[in-house]
């Protein structure tokens, strides 16, 4: 056993007084309260007002109305690209979250959009401020404020990621850029039919109809969607666009149909992965030098596609870009811990020298560090990292392998 059993668990460091309970099993935040928000979606809070009905056509008018009013409406849409050239034709056409302006673009309930909703709250590139030199002085102009936006039909795994990342974005210092977009955006999720066996939202305290982070929820029923609002923002949106929403044609039948849809989805995803997070964290905390990591690194290209497509990965780089002599912008861009330059010191020293160490960081940050520090697992089980990985790294398989080792340790 080359692991460092003798070393005290990393959670007892003096910096953040996280109770040992955080390791034992229940994920508790820094102040120790059990994470209520992480309750699986089975026990649903009460909807505000009774459910409404949105026909598919009305959804189209709603989107066009929003576009006309200059309010960006983000929804899953058919990918507007030319399609891959090298691969054989085969997969169903890809979808992406996009600011949509017409009903024809909408692709709710089709394939899971390839990039997550994160791009609308932490864009791939974003101006932090611009600078302009005049004489000896420098003039700084803050970034553009966010505009009111509506998200319609986003998957629960994408929506749940938002409150999870809220925690790091508001830890001590508040990231106003992220917060401004969060405040300005009303999010209606879509009950998910489960993409494939790489999904494991039910294994990370969520589910295919989880409410975490959503202002309201659409659930497919005959002829359209059953619409529920859960926050004031959601109710306000439904009220403001009352003409698009109608009474449920047959309230009890529709509700039963909606619940049946959600139950079937929960059933479908349940079998994909079961993990004991307490045991998992304990294993991660004591197996920093375990040979298991050397079995993951070799296959990994170190590209970080997994971080790009991940709804909860939020690491970023900050760069200056001169636009012309004496003026330019400072930008924040997506970054990933999987590249070799991420932790490279100016002296050439690199604490994470190879891909084994970098891949370990990805798993440890999501399933040990973030839960200990912020009380949420930094993963919503969308399975995109497994689908997007060019070399076939499979998150569900990795978590199963660690859980098995953890079970062995515990016995």
């Amino acid at each position: 056993m080359s692991d460092t059993k003798k070393k005290k668990s990393a959670s007892s460091k003096a910096a953040t007084p996280v109770t040992d309970a955080a390791v034992a099993g229940t994920a508790s935040t820094a102040d120790g309260s059990v994470v209520a928000a992480q309750v699986a979606d089975a026990s649903e809070p009460l909807a505000l007002g009774e459910a409404r009905f949105l026909t598919s056509e009305a959804l189209g008018w709603l989107v066009e109305g929003l576009a006309a009013a200059g309010t960006p409406a983000v929804a899953p849409a058919w990918a507007g690209d030319a399609g891959r050239a090298a691969g054989g034709v085969g997969d169903a056409p890809e979808t992406e979250y996009r600011v949509v302006s017409g009903a024809a673009e909408l692709a709710l309930g089709e394939r899971l959009p390839r990039l997550s909703l994160k791009q609308f709250f932490l864009p791939p590139t974003e101006v932090l401020f611009s600078y302009k030199r005049n004489g000896a002085d420098i003039e700084l102009t803050p970034a553009q404020a966010a505009r009111d936006t509506v998200v319609l039909g986003a998957r629960p795994c994408d929506v749940a990621a938002l409150p999870i990342v809220d925690k790091v974005m508001n830890w001590d210092y508040a990231d106003e850029l992220w917060n401004a977009r969060r405040a300005a955006t009303t999010v209606f999720s879509l009950s998910c039919k489960v993409e494939d066996d790489s999904c494991f939202c039910s294994a990370v305290f969520l589910g295919p109809a989880a409410l975490k982070g959503s202002d309201g929820r659409l659930t497919p029923v005959d002829g359209g969607y059953l619409v529920e609002a859960f926050t004031d923002k959601g109710a306000a949106f439904v009220a403001a666009h009352a003409d698009a929403f109608a009474d449920l044609p047959d309230a009890s039948a529709n509700s039963a149909q909606a619940e049946q849809f959600r139950a079937a989805a929960r059933e479908r995803v349940a079998g994909n992965l079961q993990v004991d997070h307490g045991r998992l964290r304990d294993w991660l905390d004591h197996h920093f030098d375990d040979p298991f990591w050397a079995s993951l690194g070799p296959r990994c290209n170190g590209c970080g596609v997994c971080a790009s497509v991940c709804p909860t990965c939020h690491c970023f780089d900050i760069v200056d870009e001169p636009e012309s002599v004496g003026s330019g912008v400072r930008r924040r861009n997506w970054d990933t811990c999987q590249t070799c330059v991420f932790t490279l010191h100016a002296s050439g020293h690199n604490p994470r020298g190879d891909q084994n160490a970098r891949y370990r960081q990805r798993i440890e940050h999501k399933f040990l560090a973030y839960p200990l520090k912020f009380g949420d697992v930094l993963c919503t089980g969308c399975g995109r990292c497994s689908r997007a990985c060019p070399t076939g790294q499979d998150m569900a398989e990795i978590l199963t392998a660690i859980d098995a080792r953890a079970a062995e340790d515990a016995s």
């Binding site: 790489s198 170190g302 596609v305 997506w334 990933t336």
Partner: protein
């Protein structure tokens, strides 16, 4: 593919290599595997889902692979061309790797399928059209039985011809739309066997030639440089495009430059390391009609 498994077992048993890099069945289709013990050799498979270019793992800077010791690499024809590229550019020693060639009749576009899909004109990867290395030459051992010509038409070249027929402004609009989705995650670079630089120019900051912010201007600069640095070296395996998380048709650009070096310098990338790459060499009578 027992012949492949037996060869791997022999190489490991005789201690000629410490690891055999090939493909295995994963939960989501096939994927690369690093077999270090003879017992695991029966995990090795080869079928139409083996699309990855395993030569990427020979990059000496991937210390997590290099530390496994001398490797045997299972290579289909296009992979062998990439290995030839690494040899041509002195990145690896020929006797530093054992090449297990496998006869290949074409692969499909994606490795993700429960079992090996049959090859049809629709499912075959466009790289396999008119493949000239169904019987890879740069090998130590050759396994598998002979394979027929893969089906399919030159869809890649047809799409390039369609783009060539447009005017510059329309092409510019096409590529602005495609490249605006790029998030500069560099998966195209990391998936490429011939992108092996210690520190890519895009990560150099003094001076910062390429803006790493993924807006269209930075993306144009990145993809222009990536393509130019692969001109005459790219083996056309299409892994860059398959790795792209936002589906940018990168293979069109690299294939176009393959056509250009063929047309201008009569060069086709081969699995013979002795033939020098076109850019970096020159001939006194090279065409210069574009120079006034």
């Amino acid at each position: 593919m027992t012949e492949l498994q037996d060869t791997a077992r022999r190489l490991l048993d005789e201690g000629e290599v410490k690891v055999v890099i090939g493909w295995e069945e994963g939960r989501r289709g096939v994927r690369p595997v690093f077999v270090t013990s003879a017992a695991d050799c029966d995990r090795l498979v080869f079928d139409t889902r083996c699309v990855h270019n395993l030569a990427t793992f020979l990059n000496p800077r991937r210390s997590q692979v290099a530390s496994l010791g001398k490797a045997a690499l299972v290579v289909k024809g296009c992979d062998a061309k990439a290995v030839a590229g690494l040899l041509r550019e002195a990145q690896i020693e020929r006797d530093g790797v054992v090449l297990i060639g496998v006869r290949c009749g074409g692969v499909v576009g994606s490795p993700v399928a429960p079992d090996a899909p049959a090859l049809t004109a629709e499912t075959v990867a466009s790289r396999c059209f008119a493949c000239d290395v169904r019987e890879p030459g740069l090998v130590d051992v050759l396994v598998g039985d002979a394979q027929p010509e893969p089906p399919g038409s030159g869809t890649l070249d047809e799409r390039i011809a369609a783009l060539d027929a447009l005017g510059p402004d329309e092409r510019f609009a096409f590529w602005t739309n495609e490249l605006s989705r790029c998030t500069q995650c560099y998966a195209c670079r990391q998936a490429c066997p011939l992108c092996y630089c210690e520190r890519c120019i895009v990560e150099k900051t003094e001076p910062q030639w390429i803006e790493t912010s993924p807006h269209p201007r930075g993306n144009f600069a990145w993809h222009l440089t990536r393509a130019q640095h692969l001109a005459g070296r790219c083996v056309g395996c299409g892994e860059c495009e398959r790795a792209c998380p936002v589906g940018i048709p990168l293979a069109l650009i690299n294939r176009k430059l393959q056509q250009v070096v063929l047309e201008l310098y009569d060069y086709t990338v081969s699995d013979d390391p002795a033939v020098p790459a076109p850019i970096g060499a020159y001939a006194t009578d090279d065409t210069q009609d574009f120079i006034k």
